[in-house]
Symmetry: C2
Subunit: 151 residues, 2 copies
DNA sequence: TATTGTTATACTCTATAACTATA
DNA sequence: TATAGTTATAGAGTATAACAATA
C-alpha cells in the first residue's frame, strides 16, 4: 500500500495535499521562486517571458493567435503585451502577404540577447532540480506531465 | 536513449517543450479547463477556491499568515479576499485569545456546502485523469511533484 | 523593536464584449 | 458571414510600501 492514499474527509473531495492542481502549483512555485528574481531584474513578467520563450523556440514568425495558444494568454492580454514588447524592441511585427488581417510576430536580436542573458539562471535552477530528482526521475516527470497535458 | 532529450537551440536555454514550468502549466491548464466552468458557475475565482479548500482541509482555524502560505497568496490579496468571502458567509473570523494581533479564519457550514456542491465535478475530472494515466502513474506523478515541490 | 494583519497604490492579467479591417 | 486582431471595460491578483495595533 502506498503512502499516498486518497482519503475522504467527509465532504466527498480529496484532501488538499492530494489535489493535482495544487501539487502542480506547488511544484511550479518551487521552480519559479528561484527564477522570478531574474525576470524582475530584467523587467519582465512571467507572461512576457513566456511570449519571448515561445517566439525564440518557434524559430519562425507566429501569428498572434498561434502565440496566444502556446503561451496560454488571451488575445487582449497578448495584444497589449506585444505593444509593450515592441516598444522595448524585443519583438517585431510584420504583415503577412496574402492576408492583411494577420500579423507575423517574431523575436528580435535584442529579444534573443535578453533571453540569453537570463538563461544561465534558468539553467542553474534546472541543475538544482536534476540534482534532487536525478535525470531519470526528471525524464519520467516530463512523460507524465505530457500525458496529463494532453487531456 | 530517451525520446525526451534536452537540446541546445543556440542561446543556451532549453526548448519551450522542455521547460519544466511550461510543462507544469500545461498540465495544470488541462486539469483546470474541465473544472473552471464549475467555479465560475458558483462565482468563485481559482484563488478563492484555494482558500476555501485549504480551510476545509485544515479542519481547524488558520491564521491569515498560515493561510497565505498554504494557498500561495500574498497577505494583501488574501486580506481583501477574506473580506469578500466573509460578506458571502463562506468564512468566519474570530479573535485569538492571548494574541489580539492574530485572527482565526475558519470555513463556515455554508462554505463547506459550497465546496461539497462543486466537488462532484472535481471528482469527475480526477476520474478522467486516472482513466488516462492509470492509478500507478498518477501515484508516481504525485511522488515526483512532491519532490519538486520540496525544493 | 518585531510581528500580524490591513490599507494604499500602481501595474498587470483575466475575461467578455464591441469594434475594425479583411477574407 | 466569419476570421484576426485591437480596443474598451470591469474586476481581480501581484507586489511593495506604509500603517495600526499588539507583542
Amino acid at each position: 500500500m502506498s503512502e499516498h492514499v486518497l482519503h475522504d474527509n467527509g465532504v466527498g473531495i480529496r484532501g488538499f495535499d492530494r489535489s493535482l492542481p495544487m501539487a502542480l502549483m506547488r511544484a511550479r512555485e518551487a521552480v519559479m521562486r528561484h527564477f522570478r528574481p531574474s525576470l524582475a531584474e530584467h523587467d519582465l513578467t512571467e507572461q512576457q517571458w513566456r511570449v519571448l520563450r515561445a517566439l525564440e523556440d518557434a524559430d519562425t514568425a507566429l501569428s498572434v493567435g498561434e502565440l496566444a495558444e502556446r503561451t496560454y494568454l488571451l488575445g487582449p492580454s497578448l495584444s497589449r503585451m506585444l505593444a509593450l514588447l515592441d516598444d522595448r524592441g524585443l519583438i517585431a511585427r510584420s504583415s503577412v502577404p496574402g492576408d492583411a488581417r494577420r500579423a507575423d510576430i517574431r523575436i528580435t536580436a535584442t529579444g534573443i540577447e535578453l533571453v540569453a542573458a537570463i538563461a544561465p539562471r534558468s539553467e542553474a535552477a534546472y541543475e538544482h532540480i536534476e540534482g534532487r530528482l536525478g535525470p531519470g526521475d526528471l525524464e519520467q516527470l516530463y512523460v507524465l506531465l505530457d500525458k496529463v497535458g494532453r487531456l
